[in-house]
């Protein structure tokens, strides 16, 4: 038994919204997959309470990001060895070891940020969310979101500079 094409497209669309964000927040594919499923089930359970006042994607992001932040607060130690090894290894040739090293360093720099700031970076730079949307997803004031994004950017740049990476 499988989903009809229209439903499968819809579920895949939701998955494509949530999973990459959770993966970049947690740095772990299995955790991200579990949290995506949890997001879907939570959203499913609260579907009746969704009043349609916000965009449905903002609503899903909000559930997902809250789950991820709670997870990160509970598990403060992240195993950096689990960060995305597969894609990088297959996409770049062997002789680009230096590039691979740099890419891993950038990903580590993101994961070293405190979870609240990391969420701002992921939503803004990877999901192209403006400050207003970030505020809506994190459930904070616009000014707070702008300040967090500014602070996150500053810390990330400092960490990248420390590792000898310049944009």
């Amino acid at each position: 038994m499988s989903y009809p094409p229209e439903q499968e497209d819809m579920i895949s669309g939701c998955f494509d919204l949530i999973f990459p964000t959770l993966l970049r927040l947690t740095g772990n594919r299995e955790t991200a997959l579990d949290l995506t499923q949890e997001t879907f089930l939570r959203g499913w359970g609260k579907l009746d309470s969704f009043e349609g006042r916000s965009n449905i994607s903002t609503w899903l992001y909000r559930i997902a990001v809250n789950l991820a932040l709670n997870h990160l607060r509970r598990n403060k130690k992240i195993s950096y060895t689990e960060i995305e090894p597969a894609v990088i290894a297959t996409e770049l040739p062997e002789n680009m070891a230096e590039k691979r090293f740099e890419m891993a360093a950038i990903r580590e720099s993101i994961l070293l940020l405190p979870p609240d700031l990391r969420a701002c970076i992921v939503l803004h730079y990877y999901e192209a969310k403006p400050v207003d949307d970030i505020a809506g997803i994190l459930g904070i004031a616009r000014g707070t979101a702008a300040w967090r994004l500014h602070n996150a950017r500053k810390k990330l740049k400092a960490e990248l500079r420390r590792r000898g990476i310049r944009n």
Binding site: Y3, G13, C14, F15, L33, F40, I56
Partner: protein
């Protein structure tokens, strides 16, 4: 679109971050769908409801990621909006030009002589002045009855009026009637009437000295 230094730096950081963390989520998506089927069966009413909501939001100006389409296509929206504004202005100007400023039909090649307008306007009526300019633009000769007596104005008109010429009178009803009586000509337009308006000083003088109108 011009971008300042800070925005350029931000674009650079975005590219750096995105290049450093490409994702391939196909495998996980398949796993996710398999797992989800166990919890939420196909054709569940809630699933249909959610699909409907997302479809409606997509149709109402949001793309698949929930991002407002105008944000992504802001440049095109900007260009389209200005195109509409400029086109409207152009059409408005064109309409104005063709309606008000175009030569009168008889003033076009092969037509008759320009018309004559008898203008006995009083200074207290701005719309008459506007009409006078419009007729001037359209190629009419103006006979200003303020500068002549009415009899002299009639002479002027008769001198200027070749066969078939259009004559337009802007003025009070009495003036028009005077010309109709004295020339036996029916004029094309009577635009202003005296009713509902106080008499001017010159009109009072005319009455006092028994001058018609």
């Amino acid at each position: 679109m011009f971008r300042n230094k800070k925005e350029k730096e931000d674009d650079g950081l975005k590219k750096l971050l995105r290049d450093a963390w490409p994702l391939d989520t196909g495998k996980e998506r398949a796993t996710f769908l398999q797992r989800l089927k166990l919890v939420i069966p196909p054709d569940h009413p809630g699933l249909l409801f959610l699909a409907g909501r997302i479809k409606r939001q997509t149709m109402n100006g949001y793309d698949h990621n929930g991002e407002a389409k105008w944000r992504r296509h802001g440049v095109f929206a900007f260009i389209a909006a200005w195109s509409v504004i400029l086109l409207t202005l152009f059409l408005a100007f064109f309409a104005f030009h063709s309606y008000w400023l175009a030569p009168a039909p008889h003033n076009t090649p092969g037509g008759n002589e320009p018309g004559v307008i008898l203008d006995n306007q009083t200074d207290d009526n701005e719309s008459k002045t506007t009409d006078r300019y419009i007729y001037q633009f359209r190629g009419y000769k103006i006979v200003d009855s303020r500068k002549f007596t009415l009899a002299k104005a009639t002479e002027e008109i008769n001198k200027l009026r070749p066969m078939g010429m259009e004559i337009v009178v802007t003025g009070m009803k009495q003036v028009t009637e005077y010309f109709e009586e004295s020339n036996g000509t029916t004029y094309h337009y009577v635009i202003y009437e005296l009713e509902g308006r106080q008499k001017t000083e010159s009109e009072k003088q005319n009455e006092r000295f028994g001058v018609t109108p």
